[in-house]
């Protein structure tokens, strides 16, 4: 295969100085446009910003003051709330999804197709549309009559139901060979043991995908925490940014410092599990 066949544009073909220069310029523009604003955020978070209209691009007077002010405004508490929500929410989501996928992928039972389609249909159902009925239900859970408004549980429990994880997990579990399961069954393993010790360990790549996607999805939640929040004590960090900005005593540098804390966890998760992320994006999106 010739070098020209490598990519759609065959950009590697030309090694002339002009072509190289052009490539470098294009790449620089892409970096500036997409990473530039985030870099400005980073620099501003550590800079003493006197002018409330400006972000700093060049570090001039490095300081941690912004973070100190942010902490004074309760940012650590909001960050802790966020971690609490994402920790328990993700745990619930993964447990619920893998259990359901085991039934959907490895069993045959009446109404299975209906259940699967009903769950998948919620992928097409934008959660924003459910905002108002959801807030009513959270204030008085049917049958149980529990009020989750003003509690972090009100954010954690609803994110447990996410069709994307079930879809990814079910597709993956279908391909786990039957022989392993049969062998375990002959050795007398029960369903839970087969699930936990045979099937799940085989699904590590899919677990990575649903873990990473679940994390970013829960971390990015905005409307749900907004519906649930009674007062600022249950704010997650993304929700608190607006309150911080509205405060006249708070400079943009402080908002950027809090923003940095709010974006770091999901950026770190992305950078560490990039492969799972990209894999999930392409497989999840291209299957439909």
């Amino acid at each position: 295969m010739s070098a020209a066949s490598e990519t759609a544009l065959g950009l590697k073909e030309s090694r002339s100085p002009q072509a190289r220069l052009l490539r470098a310029v294009v790449h620089a523009i892409v970096l500036v446009v997409f990473a530039g604003p985030l870099l400005a955020l980073l620099v501003s978070a550590f800079n003493h910003v006197s002018d409330p209209t400006q972000l700093s691009v060049v570090p001039s007077s490095p300081t941690l003051d912004n973070f100190a002010v942010a902490v004074d405004h309760g940012v650590l508490k909001y960050l802790l709330n966020s971690f609490f929500v994402v920790g328990f929410g993700l745990l619930l989501q993964v447990v619920v999804s893998t259990l359901a996928s085991y039934a959907l992928a490895r069993k045959r039972f009446p109404f299975m197709t209906i259940v699967f389609v009903a769950i998948l249909a919620t992928l097409m159902l934008p959660e924003e549309i459910l905002a108002i009925p959801l807030s009513l239900i959270l204030s008085d859970l049917p049958v149980l009559h529990i009020n989750l408004i003003g509690t972090l549980a009100g954010i954690i429990v609803p994110v447990g139901a996410w069709a994307f994880s079930i879809l990814v997990m079910t597709e993956f579990m279908r391909d786990v060979p039957r022989e392993l399961e049969e062998a375990a069954r002959i050795d007398g393993a029960g369903e839970l043991r087969i699930f936990a010790q045979i099937i799940l360990p085989m699904c590590r790549p899919a677990l990575g995908v649903i873990g990473v996607f679940g994390f970013t999805m829960i971390w990015d939640q905005y409307l749900l925490p907004m519906l649930v929040a009674g007062d600022s004590s249950t704010y997650t960090l993304p929700l608190a940014l607006r309150t911080l900005r509205i405060d006249p005593m708070v400079t943009p540098g402080v908002v950027m410092a809090a923003s940095l804390l709010a974006l770091l966890p999901s950026v770190i998760v992305f950078l560490f599990f990039q492969r799972s992320f990209v894999h999930g994006l392409s497989s999840g999106a291209l299957k439909g």
Partner: protein, 312 residues
């Protein structure tokens, strides 16, 4: 759940056979799958299906907490459809969804074509360009609010000043507010589309490139006749995803402009939350939500039908 299924680690073989026989069949009893499904079903019932049903019911009611709900037929829908505010919000939503979808896809495709390749440098630039996708929307909105600062020394305005333009009011000027919200959306949407296009590009048959090369086809013709047709399914999937994302848009509009200035960026979701959460007009808000849902559904169905017809 555990009580039924966890068996002791090594029970006597004979006993096991008996028990299995008693349950009938190697797939185990019919209860097992439902026990595994139960947690998911309960959560989906509580937080997806019941809310959906409630939205539908409330959309036909005058919802009065403590007083009892009143059945009002299609009144709420009539109110919603005939109100200027909703019509305007619906138009804004469609405009936003169409522009963001088109912009993200075009820019995403261009980025994907430019950044395809295996070198280390490229994969670094791709990751950097992808960062906006994983940054929480709330952070992006706060960042862009500052970048959009309307005075001449605001970040984007000083860039505009370099080329002799501006200063623009951006999100503070009714003439430019919608465009500004769209630009922010494209900035976050394009890298996402880029990643999906890249996955699609990797799947285009390399033999066809080779053949085009042998036939002496120009780069441009190869792109037009080999690459783009190969990406057809990617286009329709991205279209559905982006359109749904566009119709339900809430967070960025809420944080950037909250519908202002002068209602110039009011979209359906910001209007619904105002009606429902601030004014407590739950019936009318629900009718709006149901209409938005129907629009999403219609769009999805139309695109899938078109895709199927194309395949045949």
């Amino acid at each position: 759940m555990t009580a039924v299924e966890v068996e002791p680690a090594a029970p006597a073989r004979q006993e096991r056979v008996n028990r299995r026989g008693g349950r009938g069949g190697r797939s185990g009893s019919w209860v097992v799958p439902w026990l595994f499904l139960a947690p998911a079903l309960i959560l989906f019932l509580y937080f997806k299906f019941i809310p959906m049903g409630n939205a539908l019911v409330m959309s036909f009611q005058n919802v009065q907490p403590f007083l009892g709900n009143q059945w009002v037929g299609q009144d709420n829908y009539v109110k919603v459809v005939t109100s200027d505010g909703f019509q305007q919000a619906a138009w804004h939503t469609v405009l936003l969804a169409v522009c963001q979808t088109a912009g993200s896809m075009v820019l995403g495709l261009v980025l994907a074509l430019l950044m395809e390749g295996r070198s280390r440098g490229l994969s670094f630039i791709r990751s950097a360009a992808f960062l906006p996708v994983v940054v929480p929307m709330a952070v992006i909105a706060e960042l862009w609010r500052i970048m959009y600062h309307p005075t001449g020394d605001g970040m984007l305005n000083s860039l505009l000043g370099l080329v002799g333009l501006g200063p623009s009011g951006f999100i503070n000027d009714p003439h430019t507010s919608m465009a500004s919200v769209i630009v922010t959306g494209i900035w976050r949407g394009a890298p996402y589309d880029m990643m999906i296009f890249l996955a699609g590009l990797a799947g285009v048959n390399r033999d066809l490139y080779e053949a085009a090369f042998v036939d002496g086809a120009s780069r441009w013709r190869r792109l037009l006749h080999v690459t783009l047709p190969g990406l057809r399914s990617v286009f329709s999937i991205l279209f559905i995803l982006a359109a749904i994302r566009g119709l339900r848009v809430f967070t960025e509009v809420y944080l950037l402009t909250n519908g202002g200035p002068n209602g110039s960026t009011e979209v359906v979701m910001t209007l619904i939350t105002k009606l429902g959460l601030e004014q407590n007009r739950l019936g009318v808000a629900s009718a709006g939500a149901v209409l938005l849902f129907l629009a999403t559904l219609l769009l999805t169905v139309v695109v899938s039908v078109l895709r199927r017809r194309e395949r045949e």
